[in-house]
Structures are given as C-alpha cells and as structure tokens.
Symmetry: C2
Subunit: 249 residues, 2 copies
C-alpha cells in the first residue's frame, strides 16, 4: 500500500468478517506499537485483550452495546498502568509517588500514543479498527470486569477485525482552522462561521438537525450527543473512581 | 521505506540539521494527521507551530532548556481545545457543558492520537521527532506564552526537524509483560523481577545506578528522575491551572 495514499484515505471500520486475527500477528503488531514514544521510557500502560465471545459480551454493555464491541475479532482495552511500576519499586526498595495528576496525564498520553501506533500498524496490515469513545464513561465497571487493580485505569477501547464492506470516511474541519502560528489565534464570530461552514453544509448535517428537532448542528452536538447533564454525571463517577483508586484521596 | 521495517526500527531523534521544513509539507502532514480518529468527530484539539528562533526561545525555559526545543526546525504544541467548540456553540444558540473531566480526558486522548499520527507521518517523510515530556509541568506558563484562552490546555510538545546523526533506539519491556489476556494478570515478586530483568541488565542501567549513587534502577526512576515531591509540586500547579481555566471551579 502506498503510504501517503493510506494516510490520506484511512477510515474507521465498524463491521468485520468472521475471520479471526492470528494471535502471533496480534502480538507482533502490539510489539511494534510499543516502540511508540513514551514518557521517560517507563511504559506506564497495559493492554487487555478480549477475544472470546464471553469476554467481549461481558464488556459490551459498558460500551452501550455498540455492535462493533462484539462483532470484532478482538476488543483491546488500553489502560493507564502505574501498578506495574509500583510493583517494581516495591521489589527494589524504591519510594514512588505516581498517584497524582501529572502522572495520570503522562500515562494517559502514553497509552494513547501506544493505541494509535497499534491502530496504524493494524490498518496497514489490512485490518479495520474502531475506537469506542465510551471507556472512560464506565471506567470503574470495566476495571471491575477486567480485574484491574488500583493504579490501572481503562482509558481507550479499540475494536479490531477484518473489514466487511467499506469504512466510513468522516469529514474534518479545514486544517487551517486547527493550526495556529506563533500563538493561539482565537475565533471571532465570522471566523467561527467560516470554520464550520463546510461541516454545516453536509447533507447529513441537515438530516441530524431534522431528526433531532433542533435548529443548528452545534445544538445536535452540544445538547443531544454530548449534553451537559450526561457529561457531568459521567464525570462525577470518573472523578470518584480516580479519587478512590488512583489518587487515593 | 518498507513499512514493517520502519515500525520495527523507528527511534526518537534529538539532533537536527539547519534545514527548514517546507511550510507546505508541514501543512500537508498536519492535514493527513487530522484524519486520525477522534471523539465524535469534534476535533477538540489545536496545534500551535513555533518556527522562529524567538518563538522557540520563549518556550525553551518551560521545557527546561532541552536542546531540541531550540535546535529543531519547528516546535509543535498540541493542545486540548474546547474553546473552538464553545465559540461555535455561542454562535449557534447551543448550550455546551464540556468543562469537566470526561471531556478533558476525551480531548487529551484526541490530541494525543493526532500528535502520534503526525509523528508517524513526519518520520515516514524523513523527519526526526522528539516528544518533550515537560509540557504539562508548565502548562499554565506555556498557555500564557502562546496566548491560549480558557479551555485550551497545552498538552504535548513535539520537536521536529531533519535528523543529524543517528537517533536513539530505546529498549522496551518484553511485550508479554504489557499484554494481558481476558483480564489483568497482576505481577507477583518473581514475575516483576523477570519483567524488568533485561532492562536492569543493560550496561547503561548500571551506569545510571552508579552515577546517582543508588542501589537499584527502580530507585533511579522513582527517586531521582520522577521523585514524589516534584510530581506533587507540578501536579498542584497543574490542578490549580485546570481548576481555574478548564473546570472553572
């Protein structure tokens, strides 16, 4: 596959054939992905592989039963992990202090870079992937199912399998509206209208507005898909879970 | 470049020639990188490009004057960004509620996937990159320099340039110690010794222990490089900055 063509055309794949991923290929891809950069080469992450129908079915409700959670060949749960580092310190008379927000953020970044490197490698090997944006919503419940000890936080879930049919190629905002030079160039009313103009003019945007009985596309995103009350409810449970198991407050 | 060879051999590059990155190439790579997956296709991130010697020099102290911060061709600061989404909502009579921990984590993941996709694309285009693990340490100060408004949090900095000399190929833990099947398989004493055995036996590990007058490699990591007092100090300033500008507590 031509590499520039790949990056310019990659897309999320939510439907998969029944073909299983060869376990040796999976490990090889994960091993290559672990060469993604990470903070201080501490590798503060783990990945939990759910392969059997039972393992995937147990997690599916935590992902609001999105079909790709059970339809995939493997469901990967990438976790923040300061537990392994802690065990190493315990075995080596070292005093660690990693249960704080800097280390949470550093390990979340590292787990994300690892996940994305895997996603790229898997797609280049002919697989299709779909990130499930639901992991942090039910992190405590997923941690319980996967027997994660304190310091191991489920962060990202990735469904992986051989593609059935075409993937979805999503629109993106104009790159000039994402990139700033020298300093952040804030958006006034006329610029913000121009940033979102193409997105708002998509045929599907009009459908989303009509289906949801709203007046603007921004209302669909902010009030229907990611409404304040839901965000705050799930944030409260995430905060409580992190306070209890990661920050130990 | 053979793609499998690339993933199996990629490494961080900290030294760069004087050759500048063509601005059109930079934008093309950023545009391709923005096709990385993101939460709900909201693209809750921005990237700020520092190109001039003055722009890079202003940021360098915030990165503890690591030479690659000024020696690179461009220094990219990838930011969490809920400000652009908010401006869109304001312009469209939509009520948003994104200043909470779920959206902080979602946008941190999205910014990380975008950064890593860029890193891969840049390396495949012959560039060398180095993540600076210091951005969240001085997020408030970096935000002030880059004029980031509330809701825009500097998260990841990436130095990019044409490589001078060879990069550093870092060791990694055995992949079997990172990957768990079905559930998290916690580490007992004998397993943790085996997980870190290769790392501890590296020649450089003995040097680190001797240089720092410590007894074990774990002590070098936990007590010298990432000591509890430092982690907690920088976490306090990060927490205060996020409370003030992101959570608006």
């Amino acid at each position: 596959m031509d590499i520039n063509e790949y990056f310019a055309n990659r897309c999320t794949v939510r439907n998969y054939t029944d073909k299983e991923i060869d376990p040796a290929l999976l490990m090889q891809m994960l091993e290559e992905a672990a060469h993604a950069p990470n903070t201080g080469n501490m590798q503060l992450y783990s990945v939990i592989v759910s392969r059997t129908p039972e393992e995937k079915a147990a997690l599916a409700p935590m992902h609001f039963n999105q079909p790709c959670a059970t339809g995939c060949s493997v469901l990967l749960t990438f976790c923040i992990d300061i537990n392994r580092f802690r065990r190493w310190c315990e075995a080596n008379h070292a005093e660690e202090g990693f249960g704080n927000s800097q280390m949470l953020l550093a390990s979340a970044i590292d787990a994300s870079l690892f996940a994305q490197q895997f996603n790229t490698i898997a797609e280049l090997n002919g697989l299709g992937c779909c990130y499930l944006g639901t992991t942090a919503y039910n992190a405590a419940e997923i941690a319980a199912i996967l027997k994660c000890p304190d310091g191991v936080v489920p962060l990202i879930s990735l469904a992986v399998g051989y593609p059935k049919g075409e993937g979805n190629r999503s629109d993106r905002l104009p790159i000039g509206s994402i990139v700033h030079f020298g300093k952040y160039d804030d958006y006034d009313y006329s610029r913000i209208k121009s940033v979102y103009a193409d997105k708002e003019s998509l045929e599907e945007s009009a459908e989303f507005i009509a289906q949801n009985n709203k007046e603007t596309l921004a209302q669909v995103y902010a009030e229907v898909r990611y409404p304040k009350a839901t965000n705050e409810l799930f944030s409260k449970s995430l905060d409580e879970y992190l306070d209890r198991t990661f920050f130990k407050k």
